[in-house]
């Protein structure tokens, strides 16, 4: 795993630093469990079967999207749209459509498991050979990404399964209180 070593300079307390280390540990564990760098052939049905605090889960317990009949999306899908278009679109293109140098995640997320997604985002990826030089940074140290991992996964999963189109979701569920608390704690906001 490639880890971009950078000093973390943030006004956070020890608790939040531990939270981020938890992400790394969790990612590493899931990474090991899911058997390495190959994409798990994930034909898991993304349908939401349960929810907790405005977050939806599929039957395997992985985070997933929820789109209502009138197009209302769950908060995480909406938040993932925003976070994706800040941190990820500069390489992966608008709406997960890919660029000349990074793959279309609308494709990747068709088969990529939650565990693989988290580990790739956290620790990056290097595809350097004589014919290509594609390197993704390790974003696990970047709270602007690490604190929104599930949002990104849920948004891209929704895109990959054509549950939402290429535009900003017009209607969204309200931001859950539990979400605000977790976000503040992770980002180190007062």
């Amino acid at each position: 795993m490639e880890l971009l070593h950078a000093p973390v300079r943030l006004p956070t307390n020890l608790e939040d630093k531990l939270l981020r280390k938890f992400w790394f540990a969790a990612a590493a564990m899931i990474f090991v469990v899911s058997g390495g760098t190959s994409f798990a052939e994930d034909a898991v049905d993304p349908a939401a079967v349960k929810s907790e605090d405005g977050k939806y889960f599929d039957k395997e317990g992985n985070p997933t999207f929820k789109v209502g009949a009138d197009g209302t999306v769950d908060w995480y899908t909406y938040s993932g749209y925003r976070r994706y278009h800040s941190e990820c679109h500069v390489c992966h293109g608008p709406d997960g459509m890919g660029s000349t140098y990074a793959p279309a995640l609308t494709n990747s997320l068709k088969t990529m498991s939650y565990g693989d997604f988290v580990s790739v985002v956290a620790s990056g990826r290097k595809n350097v050979s004589s014919s290509q030089e594609n390197v993704m940074p390790a974003l696990g140290d970047n709270p602007n990404v690490a604190c929104y991992m599930d949002d990104l996964y849920i948004y891209l999963r929704a895109r990959a399964h054509d549950a939402i189109g290429r535009v900003r979701p017009a209607k969204k569920e309200d931001k859950p209180e539990a979400y605000t608390q977790a976000e503040n704690s992770c980002m180190g906001k007062k």
């Binding site: 490639e2 971009l4 070593h5 950078a6 000093p7 973390v8 300079r9 943030l10 197009g71 749209y81 925003r82 976070r83 278009h85 800040s86 941190e87 679109h89 500069v90 390489c91 293109g93 608008p94 709406d95 459509m97 890919g98 660029s99 000349t100 140098y101 279309a104 990056g124 290097k126 350097v128 014919s131 290509q132 030089e133 594609n134 390197v135 993704m136 940074p137 974003l139 140290d141 970047n142 709270p143 602007n144 054509d162 549950a163 939402i164 189109g165 290429r166 535009v167 900003r168 017009a170 980002m187 180190g188 906001k189």
Partner: protein, 601 residues
């Protein structure tokens, strides 16, 4: 040694004296030789104009491919090759190879240089691993590598004579711009505006590679290399702490103001001109104040870097309108008076004309009618807001605030023009400008800074202006009146550098991969040819063996490679309908080729 160099590399150039201090005179003379293309921007004035006239508006329709060269790299190919006598120097995106080809010997590769760089620099480059070209001076080829190393290669052999590390990629600093050789120094900027780097322009001694001076875009007066009483802004001294008092607390330390664009130089007054980029972050609410001196045109003394004048085009930027585009120097008459001018097509959609000696603002007009974030620049010299653009609340992302999506702002963050350089023809006194015709929604939100990680803070969505489908225009501009003289629509942003020639032809490349020739007076399309990949390189021209050649790098990528690869989003798209404008990926794929054209023999 110099005689050998002369014979093998430089063709027939008048004898020049020994010593680095006159590298300046040597380069001035060389850049006046129309057979060569000695500097990345064509000449010190950045005109991208050639006196060669074998190819004319009448015969360019017969242009043919004369030869081609594959660079062996597949990423965005910005910039263009240098031609000095019978030698051509071709550079590539990361890993930043340099090839020296002998044009008199079937374009044989005389030497090749490939630096060893840590691939971990790749993800720190926001907008593809591009490079805008090498520079020549004092018998050396200068390359600015992605990892910020500035390396000096012996032009004859490619051997490394010295190298200097200009920045730290672990802190988000990288290198993409072309150096400029001025007298006994090599000048280079640095990238990292999306990573919170406190950016600068640095001058290195041409012989030893020792740092001569470094001028930051934001910081204390010592860092800025300014004189609070003598450095002026629209005629007034900037005063003490002109930068830090326009930032909150220590934010200027991660302030950006990056200098990854073009440098020009006026030898008569010994001033170097360039612009600085966006302040970090993209969230304006997180950095109150004017954020000086981001988005600023600098005029600096080449010997010690001291700023003579500055002018900030977009105070307290709210849209990522970097000010780094080329500063084209021209001598023209305005109202019957001879003026020494600087013309600059900014990302913010305004075409500026200034007096390059005093920094006086003469013209600031929109060079795309759709530009809407400002109603114009206050040109009233006695007004307290003289020189400031009037921002319209509707398109102000600051006014919209965090977590609110400000919609329909034109131009988009990639600007009405990005780094792709315009050309100026003294024959027509027109500027030929490759433009983007794209608008955006922009939603800022809070982000935190981590060294080496992106420090962005805004959600972006880009699309053509309402009711239109084309995303680029190639225009001719009158810098004295601030008017568009003619405009050619293009389906995609025109992301290549233009070339103007004495033959009355103007060249540019398109993102689908066409090399196009148009009439310099009317804009009428006279020739086009589809090269192997989309063009984001800069067209140039040279003469070899009595024939005029036109050369351009193809290899799609750059920022254009992102937004346009799969098509932009139609903002009026219904719920989940498959929309999006024509995708660039329907026209081209990755490539890395130099295509060289000439008239048939």
């Amino acid at each position: 040694m110099r005689k050998v160099l002369q014979a093998t590399c430089l063709g027939s150039i008048a004898a020049f004296s020994v010593g680095a201090a006159v590298a300046n005179d040597e380069l001035i003379k060389m850049s006046q030789n129309p057979k060569d293309w000695v500097q990345p921007a064509g000449d010190y004035a950045n005109t991208r104009y050639s006196k060669l006239n074998q190819i004319t508006a009448a015969n360019v329709g017969k242009l043919q491919v004369a030869w081609t060269f594959s660079t062996g790299v597949l990423r965005g190919h910005e910039g263009g090759p240098l031609v000095i006598g019978n030698m051509m120097y071709v550079h590539t995106p990361f890993p930043n190879k340099v090839y020296a080809l002998d044009l008199s010997k079937d374009n044989q590769i005389v030497w090749k240089y490939e630096p060893k760089q840590d691939p971990n620099v790749i993800p720190v480059m926001c907008c593809d691993t591009v490079n805008r070209g090498v520079a020549y001076g004092d018998g050396k080829i200068f390359l600015h590598q992605a990892d910020t190393t500035l390396v000096a290669l012996d032009a004859k052999t490619g051997k490394v004579e010295w190298s200097a590390k200009n920045g730290d990629p672990a802190k988000g600093a990288t290198g993409t711009s072309a150096p400029l050789v001025v007298k006994d120094k090599v000048l280079i900027g640095i990238s990292g505006g999306e990573f919170g780097v406190q950016c600068h322009v640095t001058a290195y001694d041409i012989k030893s590679g020792k740092q001569a001076w470094r001028a930051f875009s934001s910081g204390t007066d010592d860092q800025l290399l300014v004189d609070p009483d003598k450095t002026t802004d629209l005629g007034k001294p900037i005063g003490k702490d002109s930068s830090i008092k326009t930032w909150q607390g220590d934010q200027w330390k991660i302030g950006g103001g990056c200098t990854w664009g073009w440098l020009s130089y006026d030898p008569a007054v010994n001033l170097v001109y360039y612009g600085s980029g966006n302040p970090s972050t993209w969230n304006p609410k997180q950095r109150p104040g004017d954020n000086k001196w981001s988005m600023t045109i600098f005029a600096r003394n080449a010997d010690d870097g001291k700023a003579k004048w500055v002018y900030q085009m977009t105070p307290h930027d709210e849209w990522d309108y970097d000010g780094v585009n080329e500063m084209i120097l021209s001598d023209q008459q305005i109202n019957g008076q001879d003026r020494k001018l600087l013309t600059h097509f900014d990302r913010n959609g305004l075409g500026y004309t200034l007096d390059r000696i005093t920094g006086e603002l003469l013209v600031a007009e929109k060079y795309d009618p759709k530009v809407n974030w400002t109603s114009g620049v206050d040109m009233n010299k006695s007004s307290p807001t003289y020189g400031r653009p009037k921002v319209l609340d509707q398109y102000s992302t600051e006014k919209g605030g965090e977590d609110k999506n400000t919609k329909g702002i034109c131009p988009a963050a990639l600007g009405t023009k990005d780094q792709q350089p315009a050309a100026y023809s003294p024959d027509t006194q027109l500027f030929y400008v490759p433009t983007n015709h794209v608008c955006m929604d922009y939603e800022p939100f809070k982000v935190s800074y981590t060294a080496g990680q992106p420090y962005v803070g805004a959600t972006l969505s880009m699309y053509p202006p309402a009711g239109e489908t084309h995303m680029g225009n190639f225009i001719a501009w009158d810098n004295k009146t601030g008017k568009i003289v003619w405009s050619n629509k293009e389906p995609f942003s025109v992301w290549s550098g233009a070339l103007a020639t004495a033959g009355g032809v103007v060249f540019y490349g398109t993102l689908e991969g066409y090399l196009k020739a148009v009439d310099a007076k009317t804009g009428k399309e006279l020739y086009k040819f589809k090269t192997p990949s989309g063009i984001i390189g800069n067209v140039n021209t040279y003469e070899q063996g009595g024939r005029q050649y036109v050369a351009v790098l193809s290899g799609v990528g750059g920022w254009a490679g992102i937004g346009l690869a799969a098509g932009l989003t139609d903002p009026t798209d219904g719920l989940g309908a498959v929309g999006g404008y024509a995708a660039l990926s329907n026209y081209t794929a990755l490539g890395g080729t130099l295509t060289v054209f000439a008239l048939p023999q």
